[in-house]
Assembly symmetry: C2
Homo-oligomer: 681 residues x 2
Amino acid sequence: MGSTQAMEQVDHVDVLIVGAGPAGLMMATWMAQCGVKTRIVDKRGTKIFNGQADGLQCRTLEIFDSFGFAHRAWIESNHMLEICFWNPDETGQIRRSGRIPDTIPGISRFQQVVLHQGRIERFFLDAIESVSPIRVERGVLPTSIDLDESLTEDSQAYPITIKLRHLSEEEATPTQVATSANGAVAQDGLFRSNLAPDDTADLLKKAELNAKANTTEVVKAKYVLGADGAHSWVRKQLGFSLEGETTDYIWGVLDIVPITDFPDIRMRCAIHSASSGSIMVIPRENKLVRLYIQMTTTENIGEASSRVDRCQITPELILKSAQKIMAPYTLTYRKLDWWTAYQIGQRVGDHFSAEERIFLAGDAVHTHSPKAGQGMNVSMQDAYNLGWKVASVVKGISNRSILKTYEQERSKIAHDLIKFDHKFSRLFSGRPAKDVMDEEGISLTEFKEAFEKGNMFASGTAVDYEASIIVAKPPEDPDEQNGMVTKSSCKTTPAVQSKQHLAANVKIGMRIPSVKVISQADARPWHFQELLRSNGTWRVVLFAGDIAIPERRREMFSLSECLAGSKSFLCRFTPPKAKYDSVIEVLTVHAGSRTDYTIFDFPEVLRPYDELDGWDYHKIFADNDSYHEGNGHLYENFGIDPRTGCVVVLRPDQYVSYVGPVDDYKSLDAFFASFMVEQIS
Amino acid sequence: MGSTQAMEQVDHVDVLIVGAGPAGLMMATWMAQCGVKTRIVDKRGTKIFNGQADGLQCRTLEIFDSFGFAHRAWIESNHMLEICFWNPDETGQIRRSGRIPDTIPGISRFQQVVLHQGRIERFFLDAIESVSPIRVERGVLPTSIDLDESLTEDSQAYPITIKLRHLSEEEATPTQVATSANGAVAQDGLFRSNLAPDDTADLLKKAELNAKANTTEVVKAKYVLGADGAHSWVRKQLGFSLEGETTDYIWGVLDIVPITDFPDIRMRCAIHSASSGSIMVIPRENKLVRLYIQMTTTENIGEASSRVDRCQITPELILKSAQKIMAPYTLTYRKLDWWTAYQIGQRVGDHFSAEERIFLAGDAVHTHSPKAGQGMNVSMQDAYNLGWKVASVVKGISNRSILKTYEQERSKIAHDLIKFDHKFSRLFSGRPAKDVMDEEGISLTEFKEAFEKGNMFASGTAVDYEASIIVAKPPEDPDEQNGMVTKSSCKTTPAVQSKQHLAANVKIGMRIPSVKVISQADARPWHFQELLRSNGTWRVVLFAGDIAIPERRREMFSLSECLAGSKSFLCRFTPPKAKYDSVIEVLTVHAGSRTDYTIFDFPEVLRPYDELDGWDYHKIFADNDSYHEGNGHLYENFGIDPRTGCVVVLRPDQYVSYVGPVDDYKSLDAFFASFMVEQIS
């Protein structure tokens, strides 16, 4: 670890992010939304423009929507609707043997789509720039990092010192890009034909790099995120390692505009040939198709633990393998957008943070094979889990105890991912069974079942965080953990008890599901999740029930009286001059008939008054028919009895913290008091 | 009319557009999409940033979607779902007397929304810039226009000569804007708080105006569009006039963030007070509400035909009128975004074009009161009707005969609009009836009925163009025209006969309705209209029926053989080096089961081959269940029998030209041959 020089300029920031890939940009987006002073640096000279990761889970799209840009991904991406399985028939020729939906119907308002990483980075960059002064600093490399452990618990301190070096343009241009243009070396290292119009500014900016070239500076930070990829410099500085294994299987990847008579080329396909290996087909945007192709001919290059020399693999070689697997169908191309080759392996970091001051996210703490389309999603979701917690602590809203939940929650996900990928890759790389007696081969049934089960995991909606200070559910039975490693050191315990049965399908620890509700004030239908923008705000959702029932109305007014009190948690934890809903927002969804009420029939704290803007018209909703978009039947879908109602607490990342009865104000107060900081008026 | 000077620089363009409001920008968007050499000038120094027209019809959103930006309007706008009627009760106090949906359920995939004109202009500008070099030239005023009538039928000639003067910044800044900031004079004439981030560049560009100030230039154009508003300079140069009347009724408009206990302020409301006049409430984006307020106190200013001195009206005066009408509910505000006052009048131009070379669109040919929210929509739709026709003629695809349909089609719409507005305004400005015996008053029933009927008109989906060379239906019975004036001189006659009964709900002359269909190649659901992008292309839609029926399959192959022939209309009218679908695109929707077929089961002409891109995967669709978005039941909804099928021809603007049997290739050929130009190979 390095030290600072007295003569250098020292900059102070709340958060420094190393790496501007999807994980780093997700973190920066949170910081931008929450107004946290942040810098983000990346050693590359420009963003990437093609290739690399491409699958977007339903859950990732839900998250994008909470930041306001899911529609951009939805419009530009290719939507994957169906998976087709192709297997050898009794004569050995491949035939379609089954179809399943790619996304399980009903689990999300989005379905899995494919769009290359460059566009996704563009959306993040635009989202960051539209609300904050944060800009990615490219061609900037950290050269030393130093954590003063005596200051880790001091909320005012800047315990981390990082030295940054500004690279020259030559240093900042990665060689990876230079092999991507039509399989030949591209002279300028960039792939102009693939640039969307709004990327042009980034190319121009690149010219500015050299002004600061070879200068250094010192940054003091409260928190650092290492989102710097599989070869993470931050991880290495911390002395942490990745644990896991690498296999013999080598796969090639081609992004091409295919010319083929294979009829399902625009479907996601899993093709198992009798003896030439497997292909996964991922149809993409702009007529492209990505093919993951098993390179049986190169299976034995290198040792299990060694890296394969990728120079031996060419697009021509990969194409030949593909042609063998897909025969008798023909396959060729005139347009090649990108290609690569990789060896399957799965590894997870032993630590996700140093003292909850320096964190790791994404490939820096877990790597695996790309075929499952999970890597970018899980990486972004690491940072999505972390960002609001760091912002809340930096802003003095929450105490540092919530930061422990990052490793607790994400380490388990990383292990789940590795396990999923291990199983999936084995099934995919294995030879198909010849018949039921062929025990070494993979049976079609086994494969299809794994795929169907995998789809739930792959959607990202199955994530279920364990009990903690911010997840008020009983600690998990160790027997149910399926051997997942969760360090007891990072466990925290909830201060209150939930009553899960009051909202049976709003699972504590999982993201809240979504159906449509109708705004009381203007009859507009909203997907419930659309109300839960990622802006750092906690939500207390009052499911008031059928307010035609006097008891429901009475409890609603009685809870509201507590909420409106000057010693309520709303008041105690909201800074004196901040807006009434900036820390905890109260939303109401009732099950009465919308047209029987106006917002003035509800207690004032549920539709607060602002002297410039008047009454707040957008806090109260009804579970009713809409004119044009059907009826979400929220109470039924969420498993809430309209005769009872309940209160649900949602984290800023839409995960469910607590479910309890309407008349239990005390638990709500105790829940927030267990980690929030009282604000002095 | 002026003359050119030999010394000045002469620029040649295909199209010159005068006026960069919504009508002018719609025209420019078409030209950009179709690659037509175009200039667009506006005398104002910047685009507008707030106020003015704001309602967007369903049909306008469908059109925006065909250009790729409906989602921007949909996201940013306020959605209007419900209309509430408020009327005096027996004691004279206003009470809610009824509710209806604002958009009739089922008529469109969009519903009426509200967003101010400045944002809509932004979307057009972005859409134009993303595909073409066309840029709005601001602070530019035409000073003379000259049409050489000897050249009007010469397709190579530039018969129009226009002289343009570049204004100084002072001249280019309209005084209208200077009264809009909180009702006081804004020092810089602009309302910065209301600017969206992406408008900043326009402000900066304003500084460039002075460089060309006070210079003049001469432009030679093939076609000119006067989209220069109610005081149209182009119209005056042509010597055309607006015919109609102005009434005594004066209305004030306030765009405010209301502070009120009126419970329906976020609904569209029609409030009739007993004796203080009426208010229409239009809830808007950014917490704004627009109030149209009857200024009964100033009803008698000026004579019927004279213009009222608006200086006598202030926001305070308008607010006071509003408070009287809404009593006992309170109304005040702290934020005023914009205000104006106007006198109701309706006028329509006597000509829509000079020699089908110089056209008028929008307010330049029809003006009326703004309350119905129609003006901007009908204006944009004028240009939407005209743009593809002009582009097609300029590009040598169609002959000039199609240009006559502009006046034929849009003059009728303008008269319909005036009639609608006249009735609507009278109902709205009149005193409510005290009881059934009160014949002078407006009865609630009459009003509500007019509103419901008006909603169909107001959606824009009821537009029904008459028979012409491009609308193959029987000429309309004069008795059914309700006295609408349509000059016989601009009528043209279809060359072929449709068989409307083959697709009973795909009405010839109306825009095609939309439900979801599933793409054969990738199972993705699309709204049928989403396939019909506004790019200048005609569509022949083969509703092939249930292709499990041998006769359906036989007819599909037999039609395809004709289409694929070297003398087919596809070949004759497509320029030799143009893409196969650039003039006429063939789409197929079958009623068989998607999973029983692949695209290779369909004739090649229905999924053409390109040597770079391979087969076209996006031309064949099925009327089937989707995994996540239901079933559109297209055949049922469109009134097509799957045992019969049919062929539908759609204009580039999504209006239905022709419906006929699958086995009648000859009519298709005759239809296109009646106005298209054979291309020489």
